[in-house]
Symmetry: D2
C-alpha cells in the first residue's frame, strides 16, 4: 500500500537524517544517500522537499528561491541550508537537484546542472518550444547526465496497480484507453497566459499516461477544443474543454477528455479495454462514508486538489529518481518522454486549428 | 419503475385482447386500440410482437413473413393471423405496422404503408443511402403519415432517468458527453456485409443518443477506426473498434467509443458532464450479488445480449408509438432522426477515410 | 435473467389463454394447464392474479372476494369468472387455489380445499397460533394434499443467485448470515393489531430465509425489541425495531435486523459469510443513475414498495407452485416451513419477554 | 484529508527534532513538545514510535524493552535513547509514556507512571480483571494524572467522518448500529491463551465504538459464541465466531459480528441507522482498481493487516493524546472507557455462559 511505502520512507529517512551529526556515519551516508537541492520553494518545490525528506536514501541539503521568506520556510521545515542556484551548482555536497522553477528557466537549468555533473529531476515541461527541448536533450545526452521528467501519475499507487494488471496479462492486448481528467477549476489567468495552453499544460499529463499504457508510440492525433466554462479563457486564446483521439500504428486508440471545471472535485480516471477484459482505476474521495436518506445514497465528492490526490505519487516519484541515481540505473521517465508528450500537445493544437488528423514522426 | 410499467402493460393488454370475441366490446375496442401487424418474424420482429402484446392500447392482428414457420411461430405465440404484406396493406382492420424486414426493403415499405394510410414504426435505418432516405421522408411528409424510427435506447428506463435529471437542471448546461457502447461479440460476416459498416449499423444508436442528449445539432465529426479483434472484419471492409468526437456549434462535445468485442458483456454506459455536475447510467448485470474471497470482490458480468438489456426499452418504445398513434400526437422519434443519425455515420466514415474533421449541414 | 423468465411466461400464457375458445385445444390444455382460483382480491391477491396470468402452464379461472367491486376489477383485468369460495371449492374446473384472504381464515380454508382435493398455495402465515398450525398441517398430511406457503423471498432472482453461489461452494461452509430488512414505513394500526406483532408479521420472512440459507435448523433464539419510531406502536403492544441472533446446533449464526422505518426505501440485504469467502446481495434502486456535484455522488433511493421490489419473486413463486402441481413433485416450501418460521417468531417474542436465550425443539 | 494531516505531522516533527542539538531552541522546545518514552518495542510499540515521530508537538526521547535487539532497532530507527523502565520513570526529560508492554503489566505501570507525574497512554486493556481496573483508575484519579486508553478506531479518518455526519444531524437520532469486524486469521495460540478471550481481546474495540456512537450507555447485553474455524481455539477455551446485541435504556440497538477468519481481508465496517437516514463506512482495499472479464468485475481484497488498515488512526490517536497533554485538556478516551468496554466484554461472556440477557450498572 502507498501508505506503507510512505510511512516506511518516513521512518528510514528520519533515521538517516538524524545521524547527520555523527561523524562515524557520515562516510556511510555519503555512499548511500543522494544529497538533494530543490530549486524553487513554490508549491511544487515544497511537495518535492517533503518527498525528499520522506525518502530513505535521500537528504535534503539545500533550498534555493529568490524569495527569501519562501526559501526560509522550507529550510526551517526540513532543516536544510538556503543557497543560491549558483552556489548549489558548485556545491560538492549536492548530488542531485529538483528543478521547480518557472517553466521558462527549465531548459537552461537542466543544461547547467547536467554540465555540472548533477543528476536532474525537472518538473514538466522542459520547454514549451520543441526545438529548445531537443537542444536541451542533446546536451543531456552529450554530458551523459541523468534527467528525469516529473510525470507523477506514472507513480500513483492505483495507476501502478492498473499497469501491473496489464503487464500481468489480465486484460490481454491493450486496445482502447479512456482517460478522463477534469480539474475542479481553472488556474489563474496569469498562469494560463504562460502555460502554453491547455494541451501543453494539462493534457500533457494524459499524453504521457497514454504513451505509458499504450505500449507503442502514437501515430495520429485528432483533437477538438472549446471554451465552455469561462469566456475569459477564450480572451486568453486558450480552451477549457477538449477531447482527443490518439491512434497508434497498429490501430490502438486512446481518448482523452479534459475540462477545467468539475464541480465534484478532481476527476482522474483511467479505463483500459483489452482483448480479454478491461481494467479501470477509481477516483479518490474525501472519505469512504456514504449517507442514505430520502434523497438517495450519497458519497462525498472527490479530493479537490492535485497535491492531496497525488501525494503518494509525488513521494514514489522522488523515491524512484533517488533509486535510479543511487544505483546508476536509467530513470523511469526521461527527457525523451517530455519531448514526446510535447509533440502530442503540438499535434493536438494543430489538429484543432486545421481540422486535420495530424500524423506524427 | 420499468418493471411496473411492463407489468401494467401486461395486465391491461390481456384484458383487452381477452374480450376480442365479445361483440359488445368490439366497437369500443376499435376506438381505443391500435391494431397492429408486424412485418418480419425474425428476432426483432418477435421482440416487437411481444411489446405489442404487452401494451394496453394495442392488439396484434397479423404477422407477415416469407418463411412460413417463422410466421406461424409468432401467430401461435400471440394468437394472431398470418397474412402477406400485400394483404396487410389492404387490411381495413390494421391501423399500424412495425417494419422488421431486411434493411433494403425499409424505404419501399415505409412509402407503401404511408400511402395506404397506416401508421408506420420502422426499425432503423430507413436506408443506407442518404438520397433514398430523403426521398422516403418526402413521401411520408406528403402523405402526412406517421413514421417512428426504432431508436430504442431513448426509451430505456435508466437513460430516461438520466435525461430527466438533465432536463430538471441537476447538472446545469450539458458540456461533454461520453458514450461507451461495446458489444459482446461481432455479428456474422453475412450481417456485416450488408450492414453498411460499424458506423451505420452500431454507432448509429450512439449518434441518435448523442443528438437526444446534446440538445443541439452536431456541427463537426472526427472519427478514428481500426480492426483489432478479427482480421475477417478487415477483409469485409469494415472496422471493429472506433472512437468519434462530435462537436456542436456552441462547442459541446460528445465522444463515442465502440468495439465489437467486450469479454465482460454488453457494455452500455452514458456519462454527461455539465456546468454544475455530472450524471451517469450504470450497466446492467446478470444479478446483484457479489462474492468475496482471497482473490477479491467479484460481481457478475453484464447482461450479454441487447434484447435482454433493452427489453424494457423495446416495450416502452412500442408503447410510446401506440400512444402517439392513438392520440394523434407526434412520435418521439421521426424519419428526420433517422436521417440525421445516418448523416453523422456518413460523416464519420468520411472522416476516417480523409483524415479530415467533417462539417455537417 | 428474471426479466426474461417473466417475459417468457407472459408470452406463453397469453398464447394458451387465447386459445381458450378453441375446442380442439381444450383437452390438451386440461392436461397441461393448472386451472387457478384466487381467494381474495386484495393487494396480494392481485399480485398473484398477475403471476398466474404470466405463467405458461396456468390459467386463472376464477376470483372470489366478498367485496364485489374488488372481485370484478380482477375479473375484468384478467378475463376470469367471479365465483364464491364455496363455488370454487366445488368447481371441477379448478385444480389449485391461492389463498389471499385475511390471516384468521387461512387454516380453515387450507383444510377445506385440501379436503376438496385442490392444490393449495397460501400466503403466510397458516395461523398465528402454533397449535392451530399443527392441526392444519396434520389435515394436509392426512389428505396427502399439496400445500405451499408464500415465502416469496426464496424466489427472488438475486437471492436465488446468492443461494446458487453457496450451493456451488463459492464461499465454503456457511458460518454467519446477516439479514437486514427495513420497511419504508409502518403498516396501519389496524394491520398491526391483527398481525401478531413484528416478529410474526415482518421478521417471519427473515426467519424463513435464515432456515433456507443456514442449511440446518435453528437451535436457540436471542432477541431484542424496542419502539423507536412511533409511540403508537407501543400503545398497540408491538415493537418497531428488533434484532435477533439465531444459532444452530453446530454453532452457525444468523442475525436479523428489522425496523419499520427506513427513509431511504425498502432495504432488503443478505450477506453470508463462509469458511472460504462471503456472498452478498445488493438492494434494488429506483434507477441506475448517479448524479455528481459539489455535494458528492448520489444514487437514487431504494424501491419503496415490497410489491415492486419482489415482483419477479412473486412471479417465480407461482411458477414454481404450478410446476410442482403440474408435475406432482414436492413444493419448494411447505406447511412445515410456515410452522418452523412461526416457532422462531414465538421464540423471539419469548426471548424479549423473559430475557432468556430460548431453545427450540 | 487524513493523508494531509499525517504528512503535515511528518514535516513538522522532523523540523522540531532536527533542531534537537540547537541549545537556543531547547527552551522553546521544552514548552512546546511532549517528550515521550515508549515502554515495549514490540509491534504496537513500533507503531506508536512511528506515530510519535510523525507528530509535530512530540519528541521520542527513549525506548525501553527487555529484549535489547528490539529496543536497539527502535532507537536506531528514530534516533532515541535506550533506557530501562525504571530510568524512564525517573527521567526529568520525559513528559509522557506509551505503555506497549504485555497486558498483565499495564495496571502496575499505569499506577507507577501516574504517581511519577507522567502522562500515560496505555494500550487496552488496563487489565483483564474488572476489580484491578477499578483500583488502577482510582489511583489515576487520586494522582490527578492523565490516562488515555488506546482505542484507535475512534481516530480513523473514515469513522471520524461517519461520527461527524451523525453529530451534524445527517441521519437524525441514532437507532440501530451494525458493527462488522472480521480478522483475516486467528492470532497464535500463545496470544489467545493470555488474551482473556475473543470478547476481551477483539470485541472490546467494537464495544468501545458502540459506546462512542450510541451516545448513551449500554443497558443490556445478549451474546452468542461458537467455534467454527479451528478446533484448537475450542481447546483453548475460547470462541472464534460471535454475535452480540447491545441495547441502551432508551431502546437503541447495536449488533456486533466478529469472526477470526475472513478470507477477503481485514473487514471493518460500521453502519448506523437513524430516524432520518443511515450512514456507513466502507472497507479499505489494497488498491482502487477493478478488472472486468468473462468471470465478472473484480476489485482487490481488503487490506490484510490491522496496522496498515489503521495506520492513520494510530497517528491521529497519538496526536490527540499529545494535544491533550500539551494543552492540559481532557484526553478523548480515559480509563473509564477501558472499564466500560471491559464490563461489556464480561457481560457478553456471562450471557454466553448463562443464556441470559445481562443487565449492566
Amino acid at each position: 500500500m502507498h501508505l506503507d511505502i510512505q510511512f516506511l520512507g518516513l521512518c528510514k529517512s528520519i533515521n538517516l537524517r538524524h545521524c547527520a551529526g555523527n561523524p562515524a556515519l557520515i562516510d556511510w551516508k555519503k555512499n548511500m544517500t543522494v544529497r538533494f537541492a530543490i530549486l524553487g520553494a513554490g508549491r511544487i518545490g515544497q511537495v518535492h522537499a517533503r518527498a525528499v525528506a520522506s525518502t530513505r536514501a535521500a537528504t535534503l541539503v539545500a533550498i534555493a528561491d529568490p524569495i527569501e521568506a519562501a526559501a526560509k520556510s522550507v529550510a526551517d521545515e526540513y532543516g536544510c541550508d538556503i543557497r543560491s542556484i549558483e552556489e548549489i551548482r558548485q556545491s560538492a555536497d549536492i548530488d542531485a537537484v529538483a528543478i521547480c522553477t518557472p517553466t521558462d528557466t527549465h531548459a537552461d537549468l537542466i543544461e547547467q546542472f547536467a554540465r555540472a555533473g548533477k543528476a536532474v529531476f525537472c518538473e514538466k515541461p522542459v520547454d514549451l518550444d520543441i526545438g529548445r527541448v531537443k537542444d536541451c536533450i542533446k546536451v543531456v545526452e552529450q554530458e551523459k547526465a541523468t534527467l528525469m521528467l516529473g510525470f507523477q501519475r506514472r507513480f500513483d499507487p492505483d495507476f501502478l496497480a492498473l499497469k501491473k494488471a496489464i503487464d500481468d496479462g489480465a486484460i490481454g492486448d491493450v486496445e482502447m484507453i479512456t482517460l478522463t481528467s477534469r480539474d475542479p477549476g481553472a488556474p489563474p489567468a496569469e498562469y494560463i497566459k504562460r502555460s502554453g495552453g491547455i494541451f501543453r499544460d494539462m493534457t500533457i499529463h494524459d499524453f504521457d499516461v497514454a504513451r505509458w499504457l499504450l505500449g507503442e508510440e502514437v501515430a495520429t492525433v485528432q483533437a477538438a477544443a472549446s471554451v465552455l466554462t469561462d469566456p475569459a479563457i477564450k480572451a486568453l486564446g486558450d480552451y477549457d474543454s477538449i477531447n482527443v483521439i490518439l491512434t497508434t500504428a497498429s490501430g490502438k486508440h486512446c481518448t482523452i477528455s479534459n475540462t477545467r471545471r468539475a464541480t465534484y472535485g478532481y476527476d482522474q480516471r483511467i479505463e483500459v479495454h483489452g482483448s480479454m477484459g478491461s481494467v479501470s482505476a477509481e477516483n479518490h474521495r474525501e472519505s469512504r462514508i456514504e449517507i442514505a436518506n430520502s434523497d438517495g445514497y450519497t458519497r462525498p465528492p472527490l479530493l479537490n486538489f492535485f497535491m492531496s490526490r497525488y501525494m503518494a505519487a509525488y513521494a514514489n516519484e522522488i523515491s524512484a529518481f533517488v533509486d535510479a541515481v543511487a544505483n546508476g540505473t536509467p530513470t523511469p521517465t526521461t527527457g525523451l518522454d517530455g519531448l514526446r508528450a510535447l509533440e502530442l500537445a503540438d499535434a493536438a493544437v494543430k489538429s484543432v486549428e486545421t481540422g486535420q488528423t495530424i500524423k506524427l514522426g
